[in-house]
Structure formats: C-alpha cells, structure tokens
Amino acid sequence: MGFFNKIKEALVGNSAKQNDKYVAGLDKSGSSLSSKINELAARYRELDDDYFEELENILIMSDVGVSMVMTIIDEIKKEVRLQNIKDPQAINDIIVDKMFVIYANDSYMTTKINYDDNDLTVILMVGVNGAGKTTTIAKLAHMMQTEGKSVMVAAGDTFRAGAIDQLAVWADRLGIECIKGKEGGDPSSVVFDALNQAKEKGVDVLICDTAGRLQNKVNLMNELEKMNRIIKRVVPDGPQETLLVIDATTGQNGVSQAQEFSKITDITGIVLTKMDGTAKGGIVLSIKDTLNIPVKFIGLGESMDDLQEFDLEQYIYGLCKNLMEE
C-alpha cells in the first residue's frame, strides 16, 4: 500500500485520527484488512472469470454505475495481465489503486471548506427531498464551531412543513443564530435577510438550507438559480461552497441529480449521507467520473458530530469489503 499512501498524501493529505469512526461506519464487521485478504485467497486459488464476476457484482451492489463498473473491471484485468498476477492475495492493492486512480483522475481534490478570509463565507446546501440537508447543516455548523468559526444558518426551506422548526431546533442546540422566514414564503428573501444580518454581525460562515427538490422540476430549479443570484449580489464570490447532499442509498439516479444541479449552480462538493446503513453510495464514483465533483464529507449518524471528511482509501476498502471477507 506504499504507493497508494503516497498518492493519497499528495492529493488529500492524511487524517489518520478520524479513521476509527470511519471504519466503524463503513465496516460493520470490524475484521482487519489482512485477515480479509487471507480469507479471500483461501477462497480463490486463481484469478479466474468467477473472481471478476464476483468483483463486478460487489461493485454493482454498491450502486457504482454499470458502465463505471465495466471500466474499473477492464482496468483491473489489464493491470493483472500486465503484471502477470495469478495470486488473489496480490490483487487487492491493485483494485484499490486502480479505483483510486480512476476516481482521482489527475484532478485536485480537497475535503476542506473553501473559507473566504476577507468576506463572509456562504455555503449553499442543495439536494433532492429527504437526502439529509438540514441534518447535515447542523453537523457542518458544529464542525465549524469546533474549528473556531462563528456560524449562522438560514432556514431557506420554506416549503416543507416543519423544515424551519427542524433547523431552528438544531440551531438552538448548537447555540447559533437561525434566520427564519414564513412558511410558504420566498426562500430568496430569507437568504437575503440572512446575508445582510451575517455581514452586519460579522460572522464567518453562513450556511443556507434549501428545500429539497427533484432535479427535473424546472420551476424549483429556477428558484435555486435566483437564490444563487441573490447571494452573488451581497457576496460577490459567494457561495464559496455549494454542497450537493446525496443519500447513500441513492442508485443510478445520483448521476442525473448531480448533472441537473450542476447546470444551475456550481457544485463544489458532495456530502454523502446515511453511510451508517448498509448502503455504500457507490454512485459517487460515477458522479466523479462524469462530472468531476468530489465527495467532501460523509454523514454517519444522527448526532451532530457524525460528520467526517471523506477518505477515499477507507471508502474503497469499504466497497470491496465483501470480496475480501468472504
């Protein structure tokens, strides 16, 4: 894994501290990687078609897009042939390396928030209904607080019943200010108020909640565009981050979500939520492949410190867990 660690360090910087919880979230079994490899080796004497079919199934099971799976398998097969590997014990590094390289694809990835030192940093949260935007906002705000930033939130979901209260409850628990509008009111006006108040009070970060919207609803997407314009009017460089929240259980539709949302706003990263379940959210690999949007955070539960920076290596091992285990 030496080679792998080097790229990883170069690309994202290491954050070993977090790994424990991350593993707990991704890897319910808790068995160590080396034992998995051994078990796998015992199961497969050689790298035959069955092995690759198993790998293919595992990746498809994780919601990695079908064509993406084909690409990954082809690449791994090529590499195996090139290095003339027959021993399954040697292949796991190749799997991870290959997937890493495909994901990274020579682009710069960071899991850090792009803070603006001279101006208000505005973060816009978008996503389909029920992805977990509001809960993620609470977690993000909490994370930023521990980093020493002052945070304000804007309840921009004026549509769904109870959404404003939901954010307000979180804001209360975190001891931060929540700018609210009327239910059914114009979300842009809430955002506008929040922007002005945030600037006045000199807080570092403003996180704007938005109503969940399915990406094929034209009017709702236009509303989002308007919010974006309003933000730009007050904070010219804003929103510094537009985070697309995607539920890990999401299937192939995730690509369409990312595609349509990035037509309207410049999506700077993805937050993959509900990773504490059995879903793997493999669709983020396809999203990175087609749209080059990286995952920044993953959500691992319902309490406010259940948000972690995305660690690709852990993630890929999590994906291939079954293959290495069985």
């Binding site: 099971m61 029920g130 209260d165 399915l214 539920d247 192939q252």
Partner: protein, 463 residues
C-alpha cells in the same frame, strides 16, 4: 436522460438476429446482456436481475418469431410480461375493513413517511369518507411532530401528539384510546425514520406493532434508492412482516427499478406511489405502467390520462371551430400554448411517448422562456390586433415592441410563426374533428384563399 432505454439498447444486438425464425441460446445472449444492463441501470437489484434474466431466457427459448413481429419485439414483450408478472398483476388497495383500521408507516430516514401519511389520510377521507387520525410517533427527528401537525392543519385532519419526551410506545397506546373514544375509524401511525440495522429502533417498531395491531404496515421506499433496497426491504419485512409498500418521489426521473426488488424480496404488493410534493399527489400502483417505466418504454396510458386531466374539451372544440372558420387569432394560439404547458415540462411529456426517447434533449427552460416571450408580446397587443394580426403595421409594431420590451424583429418572428401555424390549421381545418378524415375536397380549399384576400382588403379600407 442519463440512460438509454431498453429498446435502444436492444437495437444493435437485434440486427444480428434479424430474419431468424426462432429465438435460440446463441442469438439471445447479447440481447439478454442488454436487458441485464438496462435493468441494472434502472436500479433493479442485481440478484433480482439474475433470476429475472434466467426466467426470461427460459420463457423465450424456442419461441417462434411470429409473422410480422421482429425478434426484438417478441423479447421485449416477454420481458414486459415477466415484469408485470413480478410487479403483481392486479392493483392493490388498502384493507380498511377493521374498525379502527390501523396503518403503520415505516421506512428509512427521508423516504417520505410523514408526507405520505398526510397523503393517505387525505385520500381515505375523500375517497372512502373515513375519519382518520394521524399519530405523531417520531420523537427523534427535530420538528418531525411539527411537520405532521402542519400537514394535519392543512388537511383539516386531527393529529395526535404528545411531544417528544414520551416514549413512542406510550404515545401510540394513548392514541389508540383516543381514536376509539373519538370514533376515528382509521389511525395512521407515522413512525420515525430508522436504519434497518438499528436494532433498538427496530425493536421499538415491533413494540408499537404489538400495541396497535395494525392491519397495514406500509414500507415507504424512495424511488431513487439503488441496490441497497433489498437489504432494507428484507430487514423491515423480517422484523415486522410488512403488508405493502409505497414508492415515493416517482415524479423524479429515476426509473424506479427498486419497486421490482421490493416486490421480489417481500412478495407484498406496492399499494401507492407518490408523485409530487402536494398532498393530493398520490396514486394507486399500476404494475403494467411501472413495467413500461422501468424498461424506458414510455408510458402512453399515463400521458393520455394527463392530457385528459388538463385538456379542456370545450376550449379545444372552440379552437377547432375557429380553425375551420379561418378566424384563428393570436389569442387562440396562446391558449393552445398554455394548454400544452399545463401538461408539464415538454421533455417530461416526450419521455412518455414510446420511441421518443431518441429525440435530442429538449431544454425546458428554453421552451419556457419562449412561451414567456410570446406571452409578453401578445399581451401587449390590443384585442383587435390579436384577432386580426394583419392590421399590424410598422407603427403598431413599434408600440407593441415598446410595451413588451422586445424588438420589432421578435414581433415579426412571432407573426411569421403564427402565419405558419394558421396555414397548417387551415389544412387541418378541413378534417372532421371526430373521424380525423377530410370533410372537404382540397379543391374547395383552393377557392377559399381568394376570399380571404378580399376580406383583408375590406379591413384595410376600414382603417
């Protein structure tokens, strides 16, 4: 659309077996691969796909390719039938025989339980004249109780809640008592979203089940869900024995293959589908329509229903008569455009038409913008100008341009477009509205033209 439809996928592989009389293992292999990919891309679970393909293969093998049918059509038909078979051949409704009937809503976080609870409450009030009670048993997510309360207010349906400090079990047992005392004949219990691997919370659901003895336990499943749906459905079914499923967010552009997986794993019927955020956006589940959607074959039935919903027959006949009389004006054109618009985004409509998915992607925003522009121009005209556009001269056009903030060129473009559609209408105006057959001979049509010119002269004189 990010996906190719099944029919498109099959086209290539079908070329190879054209002209062969029967379907054999050899000529079907590639096709089956195409079907497999299409199903996987529709989020059908891969285990389910595997079995499905095996079944299809068995049924298709040795099938004669009849008469004018193409082998591909035969295969698609087999696949379609097999899908319908799997999805359930009949429409399944709620069992409301017991009094009070208890319906328990369960599912993952964010799948849409609370909204669906509200929708079902509304549906059974309106359709069956029931008197439902909504019970807020989600004590975990902040403001979940408020959400249900707000929905209850909107629907004018009582909501039983005890805040978030009391255990969910306690809340539902009190709710049952309340329902019986207040003669509510249906009790809908909205439970908290939970992961299927969260043992304590799953236990809570079991406890609630033991208390309320529900006649329906509905698993609410998000249509955007991918492969993991089998784990979710399996686990909820093992713990609770669900009686049905609700597929939400089907108004998105996902294929909803998860429906197939849920059905395959649990064998319970899918009872409802959620088709929007409004509280009346709920529908019964029609297996054949879902099969079409999963295959990406277009959904003609839904399209026809949609058209019937929004199309005003009187309005259409009026327009038709105007067409026949040759008095079709700009106002009428705008009406037509509005009626079209009511159907929803154009791209969505086109997707429902079989064979249409091949069309280049239509930008809904562009069509919307165009409609807005046309609107603004036409609304800046006087009534007379709208019904007799020929009177528009340079001066009038300039005035209109100022009124709507567009250029004269824009107005000219619109007039040209109008002239074209009027010409087309004229040709169509000779058709009988019922049979669609020509009622007049084209020759008579020719003699009609000079008359119109005279008319125009008259008007010019009037000015």
């Amino acid at each position: 659309m990010a996906f190719e439809s099944l029919s498109e996928r099959l086209q290539e592989s079908l070329k190879k077996i054209r002209g062969q009389a029967t379907l054999t293992e050899d000529n079907m292999d590639e096709m089956l691969r195409g079907i497999r990919l299409a199903l996987l891309e529709a989020d059908v679970n891969f285990q389910v796909v595997k079995e499905f393909i095996a079944n299809t293969k068995e049924k298709a093998l040795g099938q004669d390719v009849l008469g004018s049918l193409k082998p591909g059509q035969v295969v698609v038909k087999i696949v379609h039938d097999e899908l319908v078979d799997l999805l359930g051949t009949t429409v399944s409704e709620l069992d409301l025989s017991k009094t009070p009937t208890v319906i328990m809503m369960v599912g993952l976080q964010g799948s849409g339980k609370t909204t669906t609870s509200g929708k079902i409450a509304k549906l059974i009030t309106n359709k069956y004249g029931k008197k439902p009670l909504l019970v807020a048993a989600d004590i975990y997510r902040p403001a979940a109780v408020d959400q249900l309360k707000t929905l209850g207010q909107q629907l004018d349906i009582p909501v039983f809640e005890k805040g978030t400090d009391i255990k969910a079990e306690q809340i539902v047992s009190e709710a049952m008592e309340y329902a019986i005392n207040n003669r509510h004949d249906v009790v809908i219990v909205d439970t908290a979203g939970r992961l299927h691997i969260d043992e304590p919370l799953m236990q809570e659901l079991q406890n609630i089940k033991d208390i309320v003895r529900p006649s329906e336990i509905l698993l609410v499943v998000d249509a955007l869900t991918g492969q993991d749906i089998v784990n979710v459905a399996q686990s909820f079914n093992d713990h609770l024995g669900i009686t049905g499923a609700v597929l939400t967010k089907l108004d998105g552009d996902s294929r909803g293959g998860g429906a197939l997986s849920v059905r395959h794993i649990t064998h319970v019927p899918i009872k409802f589908i959620g088709t929007g955020e409004k509280l009346d956006a709920i529908d019964l589940f029609y297996p054949d329509r879902m099969a079409d959607r999963i295959l990406g074959m277009g959904d003609v039935v839904s399209l026809v229903e949609k058209v019937q919903d929004v199309y005003d027959e009187k309005e259409t006949m009026k327009t038709f008569q105007k067409m026949q009389q040759g008095t079709f004006g700009l106002d009428d054109m705008l009406d037509q455009m509005h009626q079209m618009r009511k159907l929803g985004p154009l791209s969505g409509i086109l997707k429902m038409i079989p064979g249409m998915p091949k069309m280049p992607e239509i930008n809904d925003e562009d069509t919307d913008k165009k409609l807005k522009m046309t609107e603004s121009i036409i609304y800046s005209m006087t009534k007379q100008e709208r019904s007799h556009p020929e009177i528009l001269n340079a001066k009038r056009k300039e005035r209109i341009a100022k009124g709507c903030g567009r250029s004269v060129a824009d107005i000219n473009r619109l007039l040209k477009q109008f002239e074209q559609s009027r010409l087309m209408m004229k040709q169509m105006g000779n058709l009988d509205p019922v049979t669609g057959m020509p009622t007049q001979k084209p020759k008579q049509n020719m003699s009609f033209n000079p008359n119109r010119k005279k008319e125009r002269h008259k008007k010019k004189k009037k000015r």
